[in-house]
């Protein structure tokens, strides 16, 4: 990977974040930063708190302690709507598509923040409402084209195989034209070809749109290939942070991964 990318300005910084459910500590004093245009991976054994970290970043969970700095703004915590409005999009570990809708509609929902027509305008379907519908449809079609899912455009997502659903979910996130893209195990449960495709897409997104990406991934090969810097979590604590090679070398990481299958 081009090492230069990790020297960009800091886009997101989390500082000393702690999160717990009832008594259970999910994250303890986590701090790291994400620089513009880089691909940042979060790895760690199951239950290390990776997903919780993402959920904190885009405001699904509210940490008891610590601050989040996004685009220079320091905050106690995020809230989902604000996060979305400020350009954070994400995908989920177990697919969170809208099962009752077509691929096209799913991706269109990704653009809801770009549409401002009131429901009355939409009911009459003239002027702004109509214009927005068509403009955003075009945007969505570009995403569809980008992710090569033209052939399933009008299929209900429920009918799609797992790999494609993952791709559609990515499409929905991309449709929002995010600045920061959070991917929660984008390649989990995929076969080799699907993984390769997904890797290609992640890299293309990063290159084509200059999107900063934070991803959780189990497949070490993938992580080492595509990420600029890697954070290693274990039992809610950060045990490693650096370039793939640095991390690969670190004893703490090796210990954490001893016996862990992937």
């Amino acid at each position: 990977m081009t090492p230069g990318r990790s020297s960009g300005a800091v886009l997101l910084a989390v500082d000393n974040i702690s999160l717990s459910f009832g008594g259970v500590k999910a994250l303890t004093g986590i701090s790291f930063d994400v620089r513009e245009q880089e691909i940042r991976a979060i790895i760690g054994p199951n239950g290390a708190g990776k997903s919780s970290m993402l959920n904190v970043i885009n405001g699904v969970y509210h940490p008891q302690q610590g601050t989040i700095t996004f685009r220079g703004e320091v905050r106690r915590d995020m809230n989902t709507h604000r996060a979305a409005a400020q350009g954070i999009a994400r995908t989920f570990q177990n697919i969170a598509l809208f099962k009752g809708m077509s691929v096209l509609d799913n991706i269109l929902t990704g653009r809801n923040l770009k549409m401002h027509a009131t429901f009355i305008e939409q009911a009459i379907y003239l002027g702004r409402a109509r214009r927005e519908e068509l403009e955003n449809r075009r945007k969505v079609e570009e995403v569809i084209d980008f992710l090569e899912i033209q052939h399933i455009r009008k299929t209900p997502v429920g009918k799609l195989p797992y790999g494609l659903q993952k791709r559609v979910e990515l499409a929905r996130a991309l449709a929002a034209e995010p600045i920061l893209l959070l991917l929660d195990e984008p390649m989990a449960g995929m076969n080799i070809e699907e993984k390769q495709d997904m890797c290609r897409f992640v890299l293309d997104v990063n290159e084509q749109y200059g999107t900063t990406i934070v991803l959780i991934e189990h497949d070490m090969g993938v992580v080492m290939d595509i990420s600029d810097r890697v954070i290693v979590l274990d039992y809610g604590k950060k045990i490693g942070d650096g370039t793939p090679d640095e991390v690969r070398g670190s004893q703490a990481v090796i210990d954490a991964y001893l016996g862990v299958a992937n």
Binding site: V60, T80, T109, R130
Partner: protein, 358 residues
Amino acid sequence: MFYREAGQFKTSYQADVAIFPIRQDRIAIALIALTAFVVIPLLATPYLFTGILIPFLILSLAAIGLNILTGYAGQLSLGTAAFMAVGAFASYNFMLRVPEMPILLAFIGGGTIAALVGILFGLPSLRIRGFYLAVATLAAQFFILWFLTKVGWVTNYSSSGVITAQPIVILGYTFATPAAKYLLVLSIVGLMALAAKNMARGNVGRSWMAVRDMDVAAEVIGIRLMHAKLLAFAVSSFYCGVAGALFAYVYLGTVEPEAFNLDLSFRILFMVIIGGMGTILGSFLGSAFVTLLPVLLSMTVRYLDSNLNLHIAESAISNLEFMVFGGLIIFFLIVEPHGLARLWQIAKEKLRLWPFPH
């Protein structure tokens, strides 16, 4: 089989997102409109108008309302009739107390009041989901009806609690004949159905469905749950309110709050389930089904009765109706949860692919 789609390609998104993208469908819908607006008024009997067509249309509108809330936004409501009642009595009071009030405006006003009440009772939906919410809407059903009976002011202190709807006069023309009333209802329902369809296929509709299918994901992509849910309650209640007003003014004429009891709420819920949740078309199909079934049922029973003289009591017929509806609901939920609309859709697909099965 009748479809000839080869060569019907889209050169603009406008054409691609049209409600009826296929030419054959456009032709069909045109024919239906023609029959509804021209043929039927010429042929139908007064009974057909007042006994079947008008209630069918009005209840379709209510069903659309409930469908928006339950089918699209996924918030189950058992209080539909109550919101209809609000619409009816609000319109009545607008007509009663505002001098020179145009009746259409009164209907809209009624709908608006219903919408406000809807928002009020929708508030719990922000904290609770599923049948907890259903119970909350029951509260609306009971409270509102109680309110309408107890507070004399709304019924203009009529001793019996029964109100008599004012005559429908628009631009000096009085809608007295069944045919005239039918056409009025048809136009209103038609327009509102179109509006509903537009919302459903637009950003609003997608937000609703997103909230229905996976609220967390919806939130993460920037949809405001509160806004979406309350809007669903408001729009839904508005539709029910207008339906209620029409129910009172065009169908019943003289109304008491009891006309909008829990049973009516259930009937409309049945229309949505049988017709198909999350489709506008389904609301009409369901309404037609629920309106016609009793008629057919009693006709057949009477027929059997007279021919095989089984001496079936009137009450038996209504109970039979109960059982059939109950059975059908279960049947549909088990066999085709998406209702008649889906069945229609499947049939249509078959026709499009004819002679191939898939």
